[in-house]
Symmetry: C2
């Protein structure tokens, strides 16, 4: 089989794959060569480099492994019509994202940005008004794999967790659940509101100005899902009107965030450039999932891990 | 009874005390007046404002409540000879300190200082080499109340914990234990080394240059106990020689840290000006302990919570 990667794992990771699958032909190309794609049976990608004409020319292609979670940039319709199997690395972001989210919460609560500023000024100042996350309440929009991991860790810190999804059905590591339609009733209780929602018809612009008016004025709003859950002007206004105290954004309506965007310079905004899932373990874990799936595939077993339903898009 | 506070709780906290104990006379003075001390039966202090002559003049004094953990600045010998009971707020630092310690670890691992620097530069850069605490190993010097709380939270993140104390006897939330004398054998395993040791004859200068040479070159060393566990020149040299990667210091040999101290400007040093135990909940919790003890005291029960053994000093 010809297996084309459109990103470059580390040399030892490439060597491990070749050693584990000595009969397969691996191509590691960034950017990939169209001729190699034409002959590829399997394509491994971060999911941002495939267009419709690629799918047309890649006539041997049977399986696309996407080493990320988002499939928004993939020509899913054309892939479906060609009957190509798509898998992703669902679950791989759970640990690094939960760690990032909790890192940002603790950093704010324990005044780390102020401590760092004082250090830059060589200033020994004990006037930092740190608080605690113990005994606070977090509302988690999208209590799935990542949200559940955030909930599990926050509960260990003594935080009360409220999950919010479409149905309001129970989810792991959530002390309470509410549905999207009951969100406004739950918001006044939350010290921290965290969205990890994907971008779907139901989540787009889910959060309106009214929602921000329901939040505590001391609340921290965090968006680690997709930028379109709230219009940036709505969020900007909520911050400028002190509806909430702080926001931490890992995702934006338009990425990269423009250099002159007001968020960069606002003291109560943390701009994290969509890096919360970054981890030194990322490629290791992605290749583990891929290798296990490849072993099945070579044995004629197509019940792979993390197969995407191309109609639903996840 | 005359009860003198040498710090000022918030007005509503003062009112609560007066309401709960309507027959006692409360004085809240910062700094306190010596005449009031002379007539005080109970003195409530942060433990830094009492000298030998105060003890001599306060001839009605029967109980000193210290609203902090450290008693180093108290004239303990004179207090003992006058048979005055001393209590403190042991345990009160557990939650804020554990949160602070984990905050600093996550901040470094998730590159928050770099993300903040890029934000100051309005720079959208995904080149942040974040790692994880999951699956790493932490060595906790002093696995007592605070160390155990750190261990409990780190274990929730999937961190392996090694506790280190004098005896090497088991302690809560430690996967392994070593004694001080076996410390060098355990250090090479640790990604994070955290000291929460008090200052005693056995802990002073416990960590030598040899210990730092045993640590991983990628290790983070954190001191949240007392500054004299390691000589600053030893630590400085370990950092300059890249024996370790990073240090986070909440305590120092000399506090405040001098303005021209090299630590301020070192990129791999975080200077936290002895604030890790700060919390909006601090006084609330201290007054809870005090009120419960006062209730007992007024009922003639001297089996108070957190009584200090004045010979041992803790």
């Amino acid at each position: 089989m010809n297996i084309l990667f459109s990103f470059l794992p580390k040399p030892e990771q490439q060597a491990n794959l070749i050693q584990r699958f000595p009969h397969e032909k691996f191509y590691f190309q960034k950017p990939f060569d169209e001729e190699t794609l034409r002959n590829a049976d399997i394509f491994v990608t971060y999911g941002e480099d495939l267009n419709v004409s690629h799918i047309e020319l890649a006539d041997r292609l049977k399986w696309i492994m996407v080493a990320s979670a988002g499939l928004e940039k993939m020509p899913l319709k054309e892939i479906a019509s060609r009957n190509i199997l798509v898998t992703n690395v669902r679950g791989i972001h759970k640990i690094p994202m939960a760690e990032s989210i909790v890192a940002h919460i603790l950093s704010i609560k324990k005044s780390l940005p102020i401590i760092a500023q004082n250090q830059r000024d060589s200033l020994w100042s004990k006037r930092v008004s740190s608080s605690e996350i113990f005994d606070s309440t977090a509302l988690i929009l999208g209590p799935g794999a990542i949200g559940g991991e955030v909930g599990r860790i926050l509960q260990a810190f003594g935080v009360h967790t409220i999950g919010c999804n479409r149905s309001g059905e129970p989810a792991d590591f959530m002390n309470e659940m509410v549905s999207f339609s009951d969100l406004k009733k739950a918001l006044p209780k939350a010290d921290i509101v965290i969205s990890i929602l994907p971008s779907t018809v139901e989540t787009r612009n889910l959060l309106t100005s009214e929602h921000f008016h329901c939040m505590k004025r001391t609340a921290i709003f965090m968006n680690f899902g997709r930028g379109d859950v709230v219009k940036e002007e709505v969020l900007l206004q909520a911050l400028q009107n002190n509806c909430i105290a702080y926001t931490v954004l890992d995702v934006f309506e338009n990425e990269p965030l423009k250099e002159d965007h007001p968020f960069w310079k606002m003291e109560n905004v943390v701009v994290s450039p969509h890096v919360s899932s970054h981890s030194s373990q990322y490629v290791v874990r992605a290749l583990d999932i891929f290798s296990d799936n490849l072993m099945k595939w070579l044995n004629g077993d197509t019940s792979l891990k993390n197969v995407i339903d191309l109609e639903r898009g996840y």
